[in-house]
Point group: C2
Chain length 214, copies 2
DNA sequence: TGATTGGTTCTTGTATACAAAAGAGTTGAC
DNA sequence: GTCAACTCTTTTGTATACAAGAACCAATCA
């Protein structure tokens, strides 16, 4: 991994964690000094982040942190739900028995995490569950695009788990989804995944709270 | 527009036009000399293209043109059809009367282009038609993502128009789609758009021919 | 007193120079 | 004769230096 990529990862983490505020300007020289490198790899890193949409680059002006607001996040979740539904529909027809076992194993680990109340661990296994479905669509392009948006929404999806009882509900939905996939029911899997990801009810308020906290 | 962006545009055009071959290595120094600049803006430009997926950047190895093969193109079209269908479903509920008029106007211009057998003009108006739908989804994120994939598939969608009678068929489909949207029939619009974009029948062979020609 | 214009300073965009790593070719040993 | 290691070349990754454009501040004029 090149130096620029490391810096990009670190800046990304600091933005997502809220350490650098919304709309803040990222000064190249300051970042260069912070990471003990020249401006060149910093610019490279900012270019990478610009591609992911995490920052906004205004020519001759500078780069600014571009945290999406509530409206844009809802838009992104709306698209994410559609991605998941589509992936589920394809996966239902194409999934392998081995992958179904992987889903069950991930759900079992989710169950243990839920019992222990370990949201971090739960989220990791949750990510495995979803990534496995993406990988079973038989469509590599869809897999990459979906994973990309999933990664981008990670901090917000993760915050949903803070909701009381959400981990148990989420796990139950996972079990249901796995069942649909096992039965080859594409429409069922699609609808279950759409509902699983959609921001509705209490999840909406939790999302707002997450945004306001940052 | 900065120098790096201009160079990125030009390289992109040369890749899409097939002037630079699939898998070819893009030499930074050579490009710098070609455009009469130093390696720095060239690297910046390659970074931009890397983000769009048009080139593949292997650390310490170099950058290579990454033209998608038939399999990946079919994957991309499969996702594109889903995007269009989703956009259509949303737009059917949210489209404005003014936008419906824009669709009709674009179709009228498409009709004139079809009569004149002008595939270039047809494609331009066709792009207006689709972009209008994207813009009426009420979801800015979806609009940008869909437009991005549309742009990426542009050369291949365009080549479909070379098919005998395809312009007339495409126009009829446009009329039908506009009708569904006017009636607020989301499911109808979604299916019509999916079928309109999907690669099937003769379109499949035309796509293969386009790939082989490049 | 307010607005506009000029200059100054700060920041980004670009050029050049240097370092490090990967690949290929050659040479030597088994 | 073949394989491996070493060196040399090529190319990328990084640092430094320079140029150009934008924002800000002050001074002057209306």
């Amino acid at each position: 991994m090149t130096r620029a990529e490391q810096i990009a990862r670190d800046i990304e983490a600091r933005i997502i964690s809220g350490e650098v505020a919304q709309g803040a300007r990222l000064d190249e020289s300051a970042l260069a000094e912070r990471y003990g490198v020249s401006r060149t790899p910093v610019r490279e890193a900012l270019g990478l982040l610009n591609a992911t949409g995490l920052i906004r680059h205004e020519p001759r002006r500078g780069v600014f942190v571009r945290q999406p607001g509530a409206a844009e996040l809802l838009e992104m979740f709306e698209v994410m739900a559609e991605y998941e539904a589509f992936a589920g529909r394809l996966a239902a027809a194409r999934i392998t028995p081995a992958a179904l076992d992987v889903l069950d194993a991930a759900n079992d680990r989710c169950a243990r995490a839920a019992e222990a109340g370990d949201a971090d661990l739960y989220y990791i296994e949750n990510a495995v569950f979803h990534a496995t479905i993406y990988g079973q669509t038989g469509n590599g392009f869809l897999e990459r695009e979906t994973q990309r948006l999933h990664d981008r929404l990670r901090p917000y999806r993760r915050s949903q788990l803070q909701l009381r009882g959400r981990m148990a509900d989420s796990l139950a939905e996972h079990r249901s989804i796995a069942q649909y996939l096992r039965q080859g029911d594409g429409a069922g899997a699609a609808e279950a995944l759409r509902a699983h990801v959609a921001v509705q009810g209490d999840k909406f308020h939790m999302l707002l709270r997450t945004i306001n906290a940052a």
